[in-house]
Amino acid sequence: MSSTAPARKGGRSEFGVALLLLALGVWAIVDALGLSDLASRGPVSAKTVPIVVGGLLIAMAVLLAVDLLRGGRGEAEGGEDVDLSHGADWRTIGLLVAAFAANALLIERLGWPVSGAILFFGTTFALGSRRFVLNALISVGLSVGTWYLFNLALGIPLPVGILKGIL
């Protein structure tokens, strides 16, 4: 009995996918019904495709739920660096998302040379690297280097932020 418990738990969370599909399908149809079908001839207007896609999503939500009730399970994707024998490491994911969000929040205020360095340093930390000095040097080198590459060589202005006048 104990060996089936984790599988069953994974299955229950998969109903969330069916729910998400259902929500997306309803969203598509509700949004489409708010459109006017002026300037269209015949049965196809701006509404048609969203309604059909919404219907497809709702149908797949139902079929997926049926499949799950009958014991079907989605197959998690493998890969060279993927070890599916242990469960998902939510702490790592959380830290990665935090580092990513920090960059999105800070890029306009502090500039890419700072926010990009925080992003790289934060993600290496999240992924388990503990060579802080080396990582900090690589982070700063990468973010300053890419800033110069984009601004000078490629002509794509990345925000300079608080380092204005220094770089």
């Binding site: 599909l21 969203w27 495709v49 993927v82 990513f100 990468l142």
Partner: protein, 511 residues
């Protein structure tokens, strides 16, 4: 225009120093990302899109094509020398290739993979050059209903053939089509699914979508399940083949090419099926059946050639019809659209320099790839030892620059995170990513053709299937939808002998 003379013009384009340089950069990058786990050609081309907008389209596409081919070469190095299963297209190579490497024959495996890729790539590119003008001649007669039918075929084929569950494939396609609908409807000018957010009015940028689904989604997914033990890379010394290896390799190369090219040219989900087919064929035809399961060189030579030939085949529908059959081709189609180029039968006329320069540079790229991979395979293998925190931190770092640089907008970074989490969810619950990206990129084009077809027929639904071609395509679609469940049902009836428990079990396995 005649294929051969156009191809010669193409060589004149490709041979200029600047274009040669971009071809070289492309294959170099392609090999590197092919070797590295967790990063593939689709993601790389998407990341390079914001950078390449300042380039000439010809140069950008020469580089993209180099990445596309180079990724195939590099992928074989990983699957042969790494002791873990890799991406789907190289899974088959890994079976025998890894066994060969363990027995100290890794050098021969790498050599037969590289030379086989060269042979298949060259023949495949030649076939592309000869076939493209012929298909274009047929395609100019295709009307809106025909295009719509072919696009529906692409959706259904990618969905039913890939992965093990049709429901999950169709769900993924639906999500893709939904995302593709976001933005202003080009026909009526109304905003759809935008919540009134101005940044969404033009739709979600293809860079954000592709980078989110592939780069961020993959990085988050791998991070959640990162292999704790260091990877085991099998060492090799100088890469060469014995006379016996040559004798046993050349036929599988040619057979692999013959299998891979047509499969690549039809929308059937890329290299997964043909490589398995090639492996099965070689196993059946070999004079050394005892070697299969112990490292048979035929089992590397055949699938690796298949792999590259199908990459060449995939360019046929992309360049002649504007229909992608793989994730990489879908991103390249997105790249064409960013340049304001609409791929389709007129592409060979309107962008002759680009298309033929691209095809010619594929030949050149193949030669460079052989020169880069044969003597330097051991150098490339060193990339496999890159510490994983740096690899995945680097992917997220460059994903963030790419998404931000596309529109200089922070909104895109948040969008990138949302799409990345969606990509994570899809990998976690077995929803294939390829139908989603094909739906996103091809969906708007399909809607355009649908509405055009119905405008021509004045709203009559019959206008969708009033040509013999569209009817034939719909027949194929019905077969694709009906055949797999039917076969599964018959098989479960026969194997199970009617007991409900066994039937249920077969159903579960079939999902």
């Amino acid at each position: 225009m005649d294929g051969v003379s156009s191809l010669l013009d193409g060589f004149a384009t490709a041979i200029t120093p600047i274009n040669l340089l971009y071809a070289f950069i492309g294959v170099l990058l392609g090999t590197a990302i092919g070797v590295l786990p967790g990063i593939g050609p689709a993601m790389t081309i998407a990341l390079l899109l914001p950078i390449t907008v300042s380039l000439e389209p010809t140069q950008a596409f020469i580089m993209f094509a180099g990445i596309y081919y180079g990724g195939m070469y590099g992928g074989s190095t990983t699957s042969i020398l790494l002791n873990t299963p890799g991406e789907s297209a190289s899974v088959v190579t890994a079976i025998e290739g890894n066994l060969m490497a363990k027995r100290g024959r890794g050098a021969a495996a790498l050599a037969t993979a590289a030379i086989g890729s060269f042979v298949a790539g060259t023949i495949g590119t030649l076939a592309l050059a000869l076939l493209a003008p012929v298909i274009v001649k047929l395609a100019v007669q295709m009307g809106a209903p025909d295009y719509f039918a072919v696009m529906v075929l692409a959706f259904i084929a990618v969905t039913t053939v890939l992965g093990s569950s049709m429901v999950r494939g169709l769900a993924s396609l639906g999500v893709g089509l939904l995302i593709g609908t976001i933005g202003i409807d080009p026909t009526s000018g109304q905003q759809r699914l935008t919540f009134g957010i101005p940044e969404l009015a033009d739709g979600i940028d293809v860079v954000v979508l592709a980078v989110g689904l592939f780069a961020v989604g993959e990085a988050l997914w791998v991070a959640a399940h990162l292999r704790r033990a260091p990877v085991e890379v099998i060492g090799v010394s100088n890469v060469r083949m014995t006379r016996d290896d040559w004798r046993r390799s050349w036929k599988p190369w040619l057979r692999g090419t013959a299998i891979g090219f047509p499969f690549g040219a039809v929308p059937a989900g890329g290299a997964e099926i043909p490589t398995f087919l090639s492996y099965a064929v070689e196993k059946k035809l070999t004079k050394h059946p005892e070697d299969f399961g112990n490292g048979a060189i035929e089992g590397v030579a055949g699938p690796e050639a298949t792999n590259n030939a199908s990459a060449a085949g995939g360019l046929v529908p992309l360049l002649t019809l504007g229909i992608p059959t793989t994730a990489t081709a879908a991103v390249m189609l997105g790249a064409f659209q960013t340049y304001g180029i609409q791929p389709g039968p007129r592409l060979l006329d309107t962008q002759a320099t680009l298309v033929w320069g691209l095809i010619a540079s594929l030949f050149i790229g193949n030669v460079i790839l052989l020169a880069l991979n044969l003597p330097l395979a051991t150098v490339w293998a060193r990339l496999l030892r890159i510490p994983r925190p740096y690899l995945y931190a680097g992917i997220l770092f460059f994903a963030s620059i790419g998404a931000y640089a596309a529109n200089n907008s922070t909104f895109d970074l948040w969008l990138l995170l949302v799409i990345g989490l969606l990509g994570f969810l899809m990998r976690r619950y077995g929803l294939p990513v390829v139908p989603a990206i094909i739906g996103i990129i091809l969906g708007p084009a399909a809607e355009k053709q649908l509405r055009r077809a119905l405008q021509i027929s004045n709203g009559e639904l019959g206008g969708l299937y009033n040509t013999w071609f569209s009817r034939a395509v719909y027949a194929v679609i019905v077969i694709l939808l009906v055949a797999p469940p039917l076969i599964r049902w018959i098989r479960s009836r026969r194997d199970a002998g009617g007991t409900p428990i066994a039937q249920h079990h077969a159903n579960v396995e079939g999902q």
